[in-house]
Amino acid sequence: MRIYHFSEEPYPDAWGKERPSLRITLPNSVVDPEKARGLYHRYIDEWMLADELGFDIMLNEHHSTATCLTSSANVVLSILARVTKRARLLVLGVPVGNRTDPVRVAEEMSIIDCISGGRLEFGMIKGVPYDIEPANSNAVSLMPRFWEAHDLILKAMTTHDGPFSFEGDYFHYRNVNIWPRPYQQPRPPVWVSTSTPSNAVEIGQRGHVMASFMGGVAETVKLHKAYAQGYRAGGHGAQVPVDRFAYLAMCAVAATEEEGRRRCDVIADYLRTNAQVAEPFNKPPGYFSAEVAVRQARAPNPRAFRTLMTPKGRPVELSTANLDDFIECGIAFAGTPDQVFNQICEFLDGVGGLGNLLLMGQGGSLNAADTTDSMRLFARDVMPRLKERQAKTRLFEAA
């Protein structure tokens, strides 16, 4: 089992609740570049510590937002490729359907793979609704464009006999011949994230690693089953190895339950601020089908971010929920090392095993001292037990 440390590199000084939007419309005069310098250095230091402690490393990107200073994951990833020694470097991911130049993505990924000596885990993502506007990409054709970019990038990474031409529906090149080629042959592992069973089937058909974010046991199992259906249809085998699955949750550990919970509650501001988006950037045209748009319009709270069901069937709206709700839903692990170990084991057993745990160990205004203390405790008292316990689970088995 691999355990990744993740932070969105937030700029929490700008997270006032009075702000109508933390995304798209928040002017960048709010950013003090000197503070940003300090934060970038600090977050990179934390990833370097993750590397020393035995974590793997995950980055993502968002745009025009105070919630995530990583507006280009590739830039930060290329620094980490040089300054870390052993961790797998997961970008989850590159929003390839929003990129105008997929060949450039293939080039950048290959450079990072070479600099890191083959440690790249290459995630391609659809991107969240509020990242459509900064990219000015047309959400109506987002998924076909995504898959066309995906095909082109992998073809570019795996073609070694000189240029090929590409004339697709969305991208056109006369001579594609990337330098360098990836360090890992034939190419770095590919990840795709999703929250819908239909996409899960498509990811399964391709045999990529599928990541899901904070869906709790029930939603995650649905996605894993859909993936397994696609995996079999794609001819990859009757059973899915657990290393094809990844799950993201928030996590904080401390010597006392109270302190571990406090830390995680700070991280959870990440979720509580997610809905803080100026209307109508959370619903770009074409991102959701007309059928879904009608349901959204009829929803009792159209501004809600995401509602999950607890295992007992109680609905929890994530933008207003408390830490107990998050823990009950399986989207936060918090407390002492023993408690966190047990919470994670319960989740892993509930979903039938998975090979990649993505932990948001820093979020919101959780400071460097608390973040690194939590990481050290996790690495010392949770990680070895977890890895040992999961070592025998190799194949996904739906409950």
């Binding site: 798209i24 109506v140 529906d169 100026a278 209307e279 109508p280 045209p285 007309a290 319009a297």
Partner: protein
């Protein structure tokens, strides 16, 4: 000939076409906007002739061929529709997005078109590169869109409780489809302004005097690019004079229709 709404297949593209009234051929291209309801105006327009009001793929229910992604695709489709239905000496009326489509048709061929009436059309770029000629309809809250589009926003039903599922679905499809055809460059074709010189049919440009989506100045710039065109404002109307001032809009169209009955050539 009877009033009718039905599906029609034009070279593989499935569209819905509503037909109303009798008399000279009128092709009405509605605004397509999700924040307007023009159904009543189609009935009024039928006082002037036989109205054919087509609904393009994406705007009507059903699957859309991914190749339908540009206003040109709709313009060629409706030129084919004119041929298919053997419409003659057509009075082509287009509003807002439909006005853009009408202009794209007219620069391609006025063979069957006797007159072009554009009501607050979008489709051209007139300001500098930092100017928003057309309001950012995907970046404004709904109440602000309505404030800009109407002198009296209450004429548009916006309380979801009072709206049927079918109407909500129409609006959702319209909001998606305007993006399908007009996302970027936003609601314009950079080449159209230069091509408007090719419009050979007599042209009327009508504009809501209080249009906050595209200003009357934008409308005057539009009309200035079509040789011999007439520009007129409709008082007390925003972006949809046909909704807010249907009688005045109809009167202007009636007078234009009477003056131009035969195709240019």
């Amino acid at each position: 000939m009877s009033d009718d709404t039905g599906q029609i297949d034009i070279h593989g593209a499935t569209c819905v076409v509503e037909t109303r009234g009798a008399g000279r051929d009128i092709l009405y291209l509605s605004s397509g906007m999700w924040f307007a309801d023009e159904s009543a105006f189609i009935g009024k327009l039928a006082e002037l002739g036989r109205v054919t009001a087509p609904v393009a793929p994406g705007f009507c229910p059903g699957a859309v061929d991914a190749r339908m992604n540009n206003v040109d695709d709709i313009a060629y489709l409706w030129l084919d529709l004119i041929d298919e239905l053997k419409l003659k000496d057509v009075l082509l009326v287009g509003a807002s997005f439909g006005g853009w489509v009408a202009a794209e048709m007219a620069v391609k061929s006025c063979k069957s078109i006797a007159g072009v009436a554009l009501i607050d059309p979008v489709g051209i770029k007139v300001g500098d590169r930092y100017a928003r000629d057309i309001a950012d309809l995907y970046g404004l809250p709904e109440r602000e869109i309505l404030r800009r589009a109407y002198v009296d926003p209450s004429v548009f039903a916006s309380d979801v409780k009072s709206i049927s599922d079918a109407e909500l679905a129409r609006r959702a499809r319209a909001r998606e489809s305007i993006a399908r055809y007009g996302w970027s460059p936003f609601l314009h074709d950079p080449k159209l302004a230069g091509r408007l010189r090719r419009v050979t049919a007599p042209t009327l440009v009508l504009w809501g005097a209080k249009d906050g989506v595209a200003s009357p100045d934008y409308g005057r710039a539009y009309a200035a690019r079509v040789k011999g065109s007439t520009f007129a404002e409709i008082a007390g109307a925003g972006h949809f004079p046909q909704v807010e001032k249907p009688a005045e809009t109809l009167a202007a169209l009636a007078s234009f229709s009477g003056a131009h009955r035969a195709a240019a050539y």
